[in-house]
């Protein structure tokens, strides 16, 4: 097997990504902003979550740094799907990077209208349904993912309308993660993105105030990596045929390899890109080096290779 030249292309639900490392939602704007990273060196870009109309989002402060983490909530600020199609998508299409459009909405109808507007653009290869979005229709602002029936309703509706593969993005859910993931797949999701940010609170004891106006934000960054790995591992064991994008605290090639071993088919990089815009390039390089070292042909060869003695929780 000496001299194996690994191929880095991965296939998820019929979409070929040139590299197994994508930019996670919310960490590359909507794609139209200039950046110091060459977009062609990314496996793909997941956009900020797009709603039907432009959204102003939450008041500030929107972020706080916590140990090894970023706590933030922007309240889905985005230019709206039309704004994205006119202003941002052309730049991404020009760069030739595969675009996964993250979609959000306050209710099922909004998800559907956003879905319909994203169908016929050559640059968009898949949709990611953001189930962390607040359910304004039935959930009094709690995320769609918090209620299995609502998650299924949204994912099912989007999957029936979309001719593009649909990924459902879920947060870590206790105890229903696997059940919800399975229900999303039954409803028509072609793949899963695991995980969304973990709810968190930061407190300013001097001013007796929460650090964020929200006041609960979503924690991202290395602080949540073990949680995300646990999610990927649990779901991948139960649903080995379902493509999973692993996301949560990936900052190095080694982190990404850990996710692939736990069962992810590809990874997304979020917070690390805000710190080092070129992080995905380095991460892809790290995966390649690992594959060469282990004489493996592709990232898929790592999938689920984690050896678990006995049973795990």
């Amino acid at each position: 097997m000496a001299g194996v030249k690994p191929t880095m292309t991965v296939d998820l639900a019929g979409v070929a990504f040139p590299l197994p490392v994508l930019a996670a939602s919310g960490c590359l704007g909507t794609g139209g902003e200039p950046t110091v990273v060459d977009l062609r060196r990314l496996g793909g870009v997941v956009t900020r979550s797009l709603t039907l109309e432009p959204r102003r989002g939450a008041p500030t402060p929107r972020m706080a740094e916590t140990p090894s983490g970023l706590l933030s909530w922007t309240g889905l600020q985005n230019p709206g799907v039309e704004g994205f199609l006119v202003e941002d998508l052309p730049r991404l299409e020009q760069a030739g990077v595969p675009v996964v459009a993250s979609i959000a909405g306050g209710g099922v109808e909004e998800f559907l209208r956003v879905t319909s507007l994203l169908q016929h653009r050559p640059g968009i290869v898949a949709l990611e349904v953001y189930l962390g979005a607040p359910d304004e229709e039935r959930g009094r602002g709690r995320p769609f993912a918090a209620r299995l029936d609502r998650a299924v309703e949204v994912v099912g509706a989007v999957a029936r309308m979309s001719r593009l593969p649909v990924f459902a993005k879920l947060p870590y859910l206790e105890p229903d993660l696997v059940e919800t993931a399975r229900a999303c797949v039954r409803a028509g999701a072609h793949g899963l993105t695991l995980i969304g940010g973990v709810p968190g609170l930061a407190v300013d004891a001097e001013r007796l105030r929460p650090e964020l106006a929200a006041p609960i934000g979503l924690l991202s960054g290395p602080a949540i990596k073990p949680i995300a790995l646990a999610a990927v591992h649990r779901v991948a064991r139960e649903l080995p045929e379902v493509p999973i994008m692993g996301v949560g605290g990936i900052a190095t090639g080694r982190d990404a390899v850990e996710f692939l071993l736990a069962g992810a088919w590809a990874v997304q990089v979020g917070t690390a890109m805000l710190i080092d815009p070129a992080a995905p390039v380095e991460i892809a390089r790290g995966i390649l080096a690992y594959l060469k070292d282990k004489q493996l042909e592709s990232p898929a060869a790592l999938r689920g290779r984690l050896r678990v003695p006995g049973t795990s929780p």
């Binding site: 110091v36 989002g57 500030t60 972020m63 970023l70 933030s72 922007t74 710190i275």
Partner: protein
């Protein structure tokens, strides 16, 4: 926007601040007052995010050509690390970022107002305005005399200067905002620039709106990436046509804004509910004089 590995030339203690000088010619030649730098933190630490600092000085000519200066107030783990960084260490720096202050084309009398580390960009601006033949008057302050940024240099650059400190340890007791109305009269200010705490900037904004003086302020908002990607550092800004307001990013659409267009109540958390747009729209604010 350039990303560079910049060598630290020196770290100087200056009252409550540390001023870092770094070598970054590609950034220095583009840098203008009001713009900022993004500095990466060391790896494998619990404080992850880049820190952002106003550019205090950019030397394009002479013996210091290609160097940049920025001021750090050591308050948290990141700024404490930077204050103790040793010369000849390399920093991962991205800049210049953000929109700079605009220079007036015709008007000449510029009043520059700052408190605390807001003095860093304001003193850079003073120097650039002087180089363009403008009259510069200054109103500077801080919590204590240690927090007044480079008062001697300011005295050298300004036609007239007044200083205020909260504890009265230098100049007059109080805020620079208390002295503002008098100072505007006394120097015949035609343009006002300001940087510093929100309370002070808001009072500058109110006075300038009332007296119809064009002004610009450099704001600070909590910022994760500094490059327009994360949408955390937004400020509520009234649209040019008055039809509503938008959350604009301090890092890319700012940090310099026309203060007359900022919804101060909302930005300062005093109106937590989304402010409705009045039926007649917001007052239209005339744009920066050409």
């Amino acid at each position: 926007m350039k990303r560079v590995r910049a060598e630290v030339l020196s770290v100087r203690r200056l009252g409550a601040y540390h001023v870092l000088t770094i070598v970054a010619p590609e950034v220095a030649e583009r840098a203008r007052p009001g713009q900022f730098l993004s500095v990466a933190m060391p790896p494998h630490r619990a404080f992850l995010l880049r820190r952002h600092f106003s550019i205090h000085q950019a030397s394009r000519r002479g013996g210091w050509a290609g160097t940049l200066e920025f001021a750090v107030e050591a308050q948290g783990p990141g700024t404490r690390w930077l204050a103790e960084v040793k010369p000849h260490r390399f920093l991962d720096v991205i800049g210049p970022l953000g929109k700079p202050f605009a220079y007036p084309a015709r008007l000449t009398n510029c009043l520059l107002v700052c408190e605390g580390h807001g003095g860093a960009p304001i003193s850079f601006l003073a120097q650039e305005l002087r180089a363009r033949g403008k009259r510069v008057d200054m109103l500077i302050g801080g919590a204590t005399h240690d927090h007044v940024f480079k008062p001697i240099e300011a005295k050298r650059m300004a036609q007239t200067i007044r200083i205020a400190t909260a504890d009265g340890s230098m100049g007059e007791p109080g805020s620079v905002a208390d002295l503002l109305p008098e100072m505007v009269e006394a120097v015949g200010a035609q343009v006002v620039y300001a940087a510093g705490p929100r309370e002070m900037l808001r009072r500058v904004a109110e006075l300038c709106v009332e007296r119809r003086i064009p002004s610009q302020v450099a704001l600070e908002e909590r910022m994760a990436c500094g490059m327009g990607q994360c949408f955390t550092c937004v400020v509520p800004v009234i649209r040019k046509d008055g039809s509503g307001y938008d959350h604009l990013r301090a890092c890319t659409e700012g940090p310099v804004f026309n203060p007359a267009r900022i919804l101060w109540d909302r930005w300062m958390g005093e109106a937590p509910e989304p402010a409705p747009t009045p039926p007649e729209g917001f007052p239209v604010v005339r744009s920066w004089p050409g």
